[in-house]
């Protein structure tokens, strides 16, 4: 099972049962797909903003600047080939995250503290 990024073919063909149009093998005369991440301003994380096609890494950064930061939306850009991203599973409702569901004691609200205890 291939487990890749959100964009492009990588995300969708989770198995032979998922249709892709046209068949992925016949489609690639386009440049490879890159996922783009932008840091909006200093102090914030890079956030996924979308994808684009580019012939190489450097051109992908330039294209990302033109496409996703025309109005000062960013101070830093990451691009990564969509095919190089490994994701948790093809399903967003991932059983991998189920075990954390019953560990309520990891949250501060699990603990009852009298109201008159200050600063807690």
């Amino acid at each position: 099972m291939s487990m890749t990024s959100e964009g492009g073919h990588g995300a969708v063909p989770t198995g032979p049962e998922v249709p892709v149009e046209p068949k992925a093998s016949t489609a690639r005369r386009d440049w490879p797909l890159y996922e783009v991440f932008v840091r909006g301003k200093r102090g914030l994380n890079h956030v996924h903003v979308g994808s684009l096609h580019a012939p190489d890494d450097e051109m992908a950064v330039h294209a990302a600047r033109d496409l996703y930061t025309r109005r000062n939306e960013g101070v830093s850009i990451w691009v990564v080939r969509a095919a190089d991203i490994t994701a948790s599973s093809p399903d967003e409702k991932d059983p991998m995250f189920a075990p954390s569901g019953d560990k309520v004691y990891r949250h501060p609200t699990f603990y009852e503290i009298p109201d008159d205890v200050p600063h807690m």
Binding site: E6, H9, V12, P19, E21, P22, D30, L67, S89, D91
Partner: protein
Amino acid sequence: MSAPTLDRPAAPDEAALQAQFDATIAADHRIEPRDWMPEAYRKGLVRQIAQHAHSEIIGMQPEGDWLLAAPSLRRKAILLAKVQDEAGHGMYLYSAAETLGADRADLTDKLIERKQKYSSIFNYPTLTYADVGVIGWLVDGAAICNQVPLCRSSYGPYARAMIRVCKEESFHQRQGYELLMTMMRGTDAQRAMVQDAVDRWWWPSLMMFGPPDDDSPNSAQSMKWGVKRHGNDELRQRYVDMTVPQAAVLGVTLPDPELALDPETGRYRFGPIDWTEFKQVLAGNGPCNDERIARRRAARDDNAWVTEAATAYAEKHA
């Protein structure tokens, strides 16, 4: 499989997947690319997003025709920025379509081969510079009415693309309106030019919302799935209600003798739309359909060497 921690239990059956999908929609949560979704949902979305992306791309042409003729450096810079935005909108949307398994180059081919549609509005010519202002005011104005509810579309990547688009559309509409206000303060000839442009674009802008709900084959299902949030007629009515007072401030007359405020509803009644014209334009018989497609085809074919050269360069330096 190399990473044992990622192993999944046996795939749930189709009915369970469908139930999970329905529950996500019912809770007004977003569907994300790697979720299971009904094939009709995927197909319908690809159709709608592709059509939307094509409209942004073809939509560059009518205004692009005025880039070299815009009357000042200021107006040229504004128009260039606006047209560049529309290219960006197309890219955001193709990017969203690709998360559904569509292929970008293939979508462009389908547009050029007329297997997929784009908004009928872009098949009308821009005869004067006032058309640039009227497109910003009316066409982008109508697009805003259509697009704002799509920011809450049930499909995550589409909704996120629309948020990005909507942030930029306000500039489009305002620059158009400001351009028209400037012309309306000018000479009689300039005012006549604005009125003429309004006369030509008003009815096509109403058609941008698509056929009436009872004649819109895909609308009902799209609404059920939360892909669309409002019917065509409701959105069209909102647009009319917003635009009539703007026309009054501008000092132009909207070319509809039946346009009148309904005192009971507080909304504007308007005359019948010529759906025969709409269908003709959509079928490829508008004034500029052939020209628009020919130009898009030329852009693809004449620039193919750039794609190939960059690919060759990348391979050499890999």
